[in-house]
Structures are given as structure tokens and as C-alpha cells.
């Protein structure tokens, strides 16, 4: 009996370990999104000068990253355990989560197709992108301390 418990724990351990890479990868993607958005936010907040070329570069990179998000590959069932802030709600409501991803893809595609040429035009673009980040984080992410 004890052996059986140990075996089960080992399997649990092994699956958690297997998801470690998936989790690390999806977090790296998110961090990278944050970096690109950071370039834009700094301009909006007046910490950096408006630079159309940098805006275009950041939006292009962000959009490439976002279009590559594959929910099935990056959020397999069970990967809410481990070093992650993904909420179990993702797996309780996969369709809702997918809808947030689709919205995110649409918003970044639209911005990348027409990168802002002025600070005034950048503000609503950044606001729309920020809205899609927080809308998903509101429901599908949870800080665990």
C-alpha cells in the first residue's frame, strides 16, 4: 500500500515536472509581451519620447508573439499546479479563456496593422491593448503569494 502511494506521488511529481517547461515557456511569452508593451507605455507616460519606428517594432514583435499563442499546447489540463499564477478557472471555462485569447489576437493584429504615427494616436492603442491584458488577468489569473 505504502509503495503504491509512493508510486502515485512519483507520477504526480513527474507530471508536475513535465509541466514545469510548459509553464516556464508561457510565462516567458507573457514577460516578453510585457517588455514590448513597456516600450509603448513609457512613451504614453512621457518617460520616453515618441518614436514611430520603435512603436512599429514593438507592435510587430508583440503581435507575432500573440498570434503564436496556442491554448491547447501552452495550457494543458493539470498545468494550474506548480510555479504558476494561472487560475483553475482556465480549465473550468476553456471557451471563455479562448475568447479572451481571440480578443487579444484581434486587438494586437489591429494595432500592428496600423501602428500609431503620433503620441495622440498611440494612447488609444495602448489603452485597448491594456484593456485586453487586464480583462483576461481579471478572471484567469490569480496571485498565490
Amino acid at each position: 500500500m505504502k509503495k503504491f502511494v509512493i508510486a502515485v506521488s512519483a507520477i504526480a511529481l513527474a507530471t508536475t515536472a513535465a509541466f514545469a517547461d510548459v509553464i516556464a515557456d508561457r510565462k516567458a511569452v507573457m514577460k516578453e509581451n510585457g517588455r514590448q508593451v513597456g516600450v509603448l507605455v513609457k512613451m504614453v507616460q512621457g518617460e520616453a519620447d515618441f518614436d514611430a519606428a520603435a512603436v512599429m517594432a514593438a507592435l510587430t514583435k508583440l503581435n507575432e508573439n500573440v498570434q503564436a499563442i496556442d491554448v491547447a499546447a501552452s495550457f494543458p489540463p493539470g498545468s494550474d499546479k506548480g510555479d504558476t499564477t494561472a487560475s483553475p478557472k482556465i480549465w473550468e471555462d476553456m471557451a471563455g479563456f479562448q475568447a479572451e485569447v481571440d480578443k487579444f489576437k484581434a486587438v494586437t493584429a489591429e494595432a500592428a496593422a496600423a501602428p500609431a504615427q503620433s503620441l495622440e494616436a498611440l494612447k488609444p492603442q495602448v489603452a485597448a491593448i491594456g484593456q485586453s491584458c487586464s480583462s483576461c488577468h481579471e478572471t484567469y489569473r490569480i496571485k498565490k503569494g
Binding site: S9, A12, L13, T16, G34, R35, V37, G38, V41, V44, Q45, K81, G82, D83, S87, V126, G130, C133, S134, S135, H137, E138, R141, I142, K143, K144, G145
Partner: protein, 319 residues
């Protein structure tokens, strides 16, 4: 009479006195004449700021509302807590289902004393524990602003609470312990106006401490760990420490805090999430001076280590 008999009578008398004391202590208190006089007539334009600072829409608008729909305060948001499920009621101007028939004084008693027009205690799921620190004039302004909002019909379901939490009178005792209009954090005489404004916004209308401060066993906020972060009252997860203590936001500048409240991005460009999203959207509607004041206050509150237990270092099954 034998001894057990005498004891029994003594117990009944004691219980009677206890019951009287209970009844007396739990008697709903109303605002005093001074506060009532201080209400004034109210100004709707000024009241809009208080409305967003107070975050009424987070609980009293339909979940996930945006734009004009935010102003339809029809209620319905469910708050699932350890005591049971609370449902935020309709506070639109509908005279039957909402608060359209309320006087300014009745509204002030709800906000500042947690007492209904018929003299019942409200549950502190309605954060009057913080609103009690609001200035009467701000409450009157808020009342005037809310008068400009639409009347929407519709009754919300009742709360579903476990015994003994379903006995409203009992809240009276709890209120004696935990409702206080005095500021939480003492600041030095002659402190800058900005710090005082920040304290007012955070401790009063902003009710930031209701989520960010750990609670003791009876559900009161633990003021000795003010804003130290807490286990979330609803669902799992934690609310972060927003003091400068270990695990908190000591490495955020005042500008970082103000910028987070305005844009929803952290200093390392993570995005706001969870129940803070609604708060951030509301605070983004205030002026940059208000946000700077909140930031100045957060930098001035005493630092505390995290008010929630550390996460186990491995999440692999331990049993």
C-alpha cells in the same frame, strides 16, 4: 430551594441581564445632529469623484458592465465568503426596488453607520467599515450625484447565510468593535495636505484596507497589519502586500504606484488582474493629484511583512 434550583434561577437572571445588555449594545446608532447638520445640500458634480473613489459599481452594477451600463446600479453581484453568500442590492433611483425614495439623512446613516432606514444593521460586506471615515459633505455630494443616475427596476435574491450570521442584530456587537470613524494611521501634526488627502481616499471612500488588510478570526481588519496583504476573502489566491515591508511594494516609487493606478501596468509591465481590475478602472477616473496622494500615503504607511502565509516552496503533493 435546593442548590441546583438556586443556580438555575441565577443563570436565568444572568441571561436576562446579558440579553438586555445585548439588546442595548446592539441597538443601531444613527449619525448625530452635528454630522447631520454638516451634510449640507450636496453637489452632484463633486459627488461624481466620490462615486468613483468609492467603487460602488464594483458591487452594485451588473457584473462586467462597461460604459453607461456601469451607472445602472441594479445590484446582483454575489460575494462568496466564509459566512455565506451576500448579494449586493439594487441601489438605483427606483423608488420601489432601489433607494429612490431615501432621504439624504437615511443615505448618510447607511454609509456612515451601516444602519438602514428601518433601523436594521447592514452586514459589513457593504464596506461601511471604511465609508464611516468619509466626510458628511462628501456623502451628501455622493447622494446628489446618485440622484442623477437612472432608476432601474429589479429585486435581487436574498443573502444565503449560515447561522448565526443570519441574525442581523448580532452585527451590532461586531460593529462596536470594528466600526470607527477615526483614521487608522496617525500622521504627524502639520503633515503635507497631499498625505492627508491620500489617507482620506485610501482609508475612507477607497476602502483599500477591506481587501489588502488581513482579518482576525471574527472578520475584523487587523489594524496592526494595515495593508500587509491577505488571503482573499473570496476564492483562493492572495491580495498583495502594499506596504513597503518584505514582500510588499517597497521598490515601487510614488510615480510607479500612481502610474499603476492610472494605466494598470506594474513597473515591470505586468498587467493588473483579479478584483483589482475594477478598482484600477475606477481610480483611473480620478485626477492625477488624487492618484499621487494615494501613492504618497502608501509610501508613508508603516511597513509590514506579508499578511498571508508563505506559499509552500513545492506544490507537489506532500501527503
Amino acid at each position: 430551594m435546593n442548590l441546583p434550583g438556586k443556580l438555575a434561577i441565577a443563570a436565568v437572571i444572568a441571561a436576562g441581564i446579558g440579553g438586555l445588555a445585548f439588546w442595548y449594545l446592539t441597538e443601531p446608532a444613527r449619525i448625530d445632529a452635528e454630522a447631520e447638520a454638516a451634510l449640507g445640500t450636496g453637489d452632484a458634480a463633486r459627488g461624481e469623484r466620490i462615486f468613483w473613489a468609492g467603487g460602488c459599481t464594483s458591487c452594485h452594477a451588473r457584473p462586467k458592465s462597461e460604459g453607461e451600463a456601469l451607472l445602472q446600479l441594479v445590484g446582483g453581484v454575489q460575494l462568496e465568503t466564509a459566512f455565506g453568500t451576500f448579494v449586493a442590492p439594487n441601489i438605483s433611483q427606483d423608488v420601489n426596488d432601489g433607494i429612490g425614495a431615501w432621504s439624504r439623512e437615511e443615505f448618510a446613516n447607511a454609509m456612515l453607520k451601516g444602519v438602514s432606514p428601518s433601523g436594521r444593521h447592514y452586514y459589513p460586506a457593504f464596506p461601511y467599515t471604511s465609508y464611516a471615515r468619509m466626510r458628511p459633505t462628501d456623502v451628501a455630494d455622493l447622494y446628489a450625484f446618485m440622484k442623477t443616475l437612472p432608476a432601474v427596476a429589479g429585486r435581487t435574491p436574498d443573502h444565503t447565510l449560515d447561522f448565526p450570521y443570519n441574525i442581523r442584530r448580532g452585527i451590532g456587537l461586531w460593529k462596536l468593535l470594528y466600526v470607527d470613524d477615526a483614521p487608522v494611521i496617525a500622521v504627524d501634526e502639520g503633515s503635507p495636505e497631499q498625505l492627508l488627502l491620500g489617507r482620506y481616499l485610501v482609508e475612507g471612500p477607497g476602502h483599500c484596507g477591506e481587501c489588502h488588510t488581513p482579518r482576525n478570526i471574527s472578520g475584523g481588519t487587523d489594524k496592526s497589519r494595515w495593508l500587509a496583504g491577505a488571503v482573499a476573502a473570496e476564492g483562493d489566491g492572495v491580495i498583495p502586500n502594499i506596504t513597503s515591508g518584505e514582500g510588499g511594494i517597497g521598490d515601487w516609487s510614488e510615480g510607479d504606484i500612481a502610474s499603476y493606478l492610472e494605466t494598470g501596468f506594474t513597473p515591470d509591465f505586468d498587467s493588473v488582474g483579479g478584483s483589482m481590475v475594477e478598482v484600477q478602472k475606477n481610480v483611473a477616473r480620478l485626477t492625477s493629484d488624487d492618484r499621487a496622494a494615494i501613492a504618497a500615503y502608501l509610501k508613508a504607511v508603516p511597513p509590514h511583512p506579508n499578511g498571508y502565509p508563505a506559499r509552500p516552496s513545492t506544490e507537489t503533493p506532500s501527503d
